[in-house]
């Protein structure tokens, strides 16, 4: 996680934020550069000039390149390493923008830009109440879903929130834009805190929240269950936390309290909307907070640097900062401020939902139940008992986002570490002779969604495996070999292939992948940065892998 690790009493959360407040902020040291190339037809500079202070929170320094105003979106001289940003004043197109063809023209320009670069494309929608704009924005959402790595920047939502104050026609010609100063600030805040971090950074996986003076006013141990105060803003915080949980972010309690008091609070206070079942992990007791966050990370099976800790106690925030330099921290100073940051904390919001993300939260409890079952049965009985069902899909364009996510984020069971981008995945999906397989898994305890991928291609009589990433959520059931053999078998047979060549690249954390590859191929010296080749029929225990008591099926590609 690349975040500056403490967000404290921060001017960036001020509701009526001023341009001068932002420009007075001092750039922190040791920022990484991110190149942005802006395609616009108005003075985006009034947004771009105040974007850096927001991006600094993600340790990024923006280098912005502006082309000339270009209503035609001709996309000349594209910087291949830059994030492309398209932001237009759609009113400049007059009646043309209201025609049905306009949406099609705009989609074709996006397709053109997509062909010119592999980097992310961020495109603002049309901030207007007109039905033409609403129709355009719906079409734009569909186009962004269809094209890899294209993300809509929802400026229409900012317009809805600001109403008439969004535009200031008074000196539009002198300023170069109809946007008001307030709108420029809100646009920079939205782009810098939410949209760009969600495009550039992996998502925070869990939020660990303190109880006293964070989720309510008061101290539970002193004021008692009936004495703590829950305000409307606290209730809004509960709803934000539950929204994030629904999107797949784990919730945890990190508190110096008596756990029985917390349970009683949940049972007796109807206005405390959060219940123990909402929390996937907890450390409620008298452990120092740096130790407590490690306990939570262990329970969630994630790293401490993937957990955002929210706490009102400045001393404990300081302890956490000293012990875990890369753990994102939020010093909660008021319910309003906490609520703001739950909606705007970089790398927490703005991520595209997929069918797998929301399933993660249920997977953890299922893993505990599996562990209990495994401890009490033999391995064959265990596999029968948990009733695993695997679903394979070949070359499904609709899954490209999840496939790229697996390639980019999987560290432990990742054979090739090729880190395919969504654009590269999309290209492989269409390339003849390439086989990109998604693996879905469910068992009697839960549906884990798409948990693995195989990026393969035919080369002569070989099936080359460029990368196999398997989510750590799927590990521990001892079925990796069967899962992969069952996926490869029909491709090997249908295309008359004889050998499997696994590309392997060693990384800091992919020992589990190497161990598996050694076991699967029987080759002891796996070459780093090279191919390990084995005849298909010579794979040790191939028949056993293919004959395990699990159900597998191939799903028709839907797109």
């Amino acid at each position: 996680m690349l975040l500056l690790n403490t967000i404290d009493d921060d001017v960036r959360a001020t509701p009526s934020l001023k341009r001068a407040d932002l420009l007075r902020l001092i750039e922190p040291p040791n920022l990484s550069q991110v190149h942005l190339q802006v395609h616009r037809n108005y003075a985006f500079e009034l947004v771009g000039s105040i974007l850096p202070p927001f991006l600094w929170l993600t340790r990024l320094k923006s280098i912005i390149a502006y082309g000339a105003y270009d209503d035609t979106l001709s996309f000349e001289q594209i910087d291949p390493v830059a994030v492309q940003i398209i932001s237009l004043d759609f009113e400049r197109y007059g009646e043309h923008a209201n025609s049905v063809d306009f949406g099609g023209w705009f989609a074709s320009r996006l397709e053109n830009l997509r062909d010119l670069t592999e980097g992310p494309i961020v495109v603002s929608n049309w901030p207007s109440e007109s039905h033409h704009a609403q129709r355009f924005n719906l079409e734009l959402e569909k186009t962004a879903d269809r094209l890899p790595s294209v993300f809509v920047w929802d400026t229409a939502e900012i317009f809805r929130n600001m109403g008439a104050e969004f535009f200031d026609e008074r000196a539009a010609r002198a300023k170069g834009t109809r946007l008001s100063n307030g709108a420029c600030i809100e646009l920079a805040r939205s782009l810098g805190l939410v949209r760009l971090p969600s495009v550039l950074l992996p998502r925070i996986k869990a939020i660990a929240v303190d109880l006293d003076n964070t989720l309510y006013d008061g101290v539970l141990g002193e004021d008692g269950v009936e004495g703590v105060q829950v305000s409307a803003e606290h209730e809004a915080i509960y709803k934000e936390l539950m929204r994030l949980r629904d999107e797949g972010v784990f919730l945890a309690i990190i508190s110096k309290n008596d756990e029985r008091d917390f349970i009683e609070l949940c049972e007796k206070r109807a206005d405390f909307l959060l219940k123990p079942a909402h929390f996937s992990a907890s450390s409620i007791g008298w452990h120092p907070k740096p130790e407590a966050v490690v306990r939570i990370a262990e329970q969630l099976r994630i790293g401490v640097d993937s957990i955002l800790v929210v706490d009102d106690n400045v001393g404990e925030i300081a302890q956490l900062r000293a012990a875990h330099a890369n753990t994102p921290l939020l010093h909660s100073q008021s319910p309003a401020q906490t609520l703001f940051w739950l909606r705007h904390y970089p790398a927490l919001n703005g991520y595209r939902a997929n069918s797998t993300t929301a399933l993660r939260v249920n997977d953890l409890e299922a893993a505990r139940q599996r562990d209990l079952l495994r401890a009490s049965t033999s391995s064959t009985d265990y596999l029968r008992e948990i009733q695993i069902e695997l679903t394979y899909t070949l070359n499904s364009m609709s899954l490209r986002g999840r496939l790229a996510e697996l390639s980019q984020k999987t560290n432990q069971f990742n054979t090739g570490l090729r880190r395919f981008s969504e654009v590269e995945v999309a290209r492989r999906l269409e390339e003849p002779g390439h086989f990109t397989i998604s693996v879905g898994m469910r068992d009697r305890f839960c549906d884990s969604g798409i948990i693995g991928a195989i990026f393969a291609r035919a080369r002569g009589n070989q099936l080359v495996i460029d990368e196999i990433p398997v989510s750590c959520r799927a590990l521990g059931r001892s079925i990796e070999s069967s899962m992969i053999a069952l996926a490869l078998a029909p491709i090997v047979e249908r295309h008359g292939l004889r050998e499997i060549a696994f590309w392997f690249c060693e990384g800091p954390r992919n020992l589990p992948a190497r161990t598996w590859l050694t076991s699967f191929t029987g080759v002891q010296n796996i070459s780093d940065g090279g191919f390990t080749t084995v005849a298909w029929e010579a794979i040790p225990q191939l028949k056993e892998h293919l004959g395990v008591p699990i159900t597998s099926q191939w799903e028709q590609t839907t797109g």
Partner: protein, 80 residues
Amino acid sequence: MTRVEIQEAVAELLSVSLGRQVVLTESVTRDSDPKWDSLKHVQLILMLEEHFGVQFSEEEMGALRSSDEIVQAIEEKSGT
């Protein structure tokens, strides 16, 4: 608001906009400071509007070309 208070605030906002220290007694003009380009000028006007709660017309924006003219315009708009 006194003239000195306005002068202080204008000097501070000019410092923020131009990225260098502008002292109270310094008279800065657009022609004399190459950093005072059109973007910085618009930003300065927006910050002056935020700070003093005034509004400038398009014509006024173009006409303001020095720190002294800005101070005078704000005095007139705020009735001090």
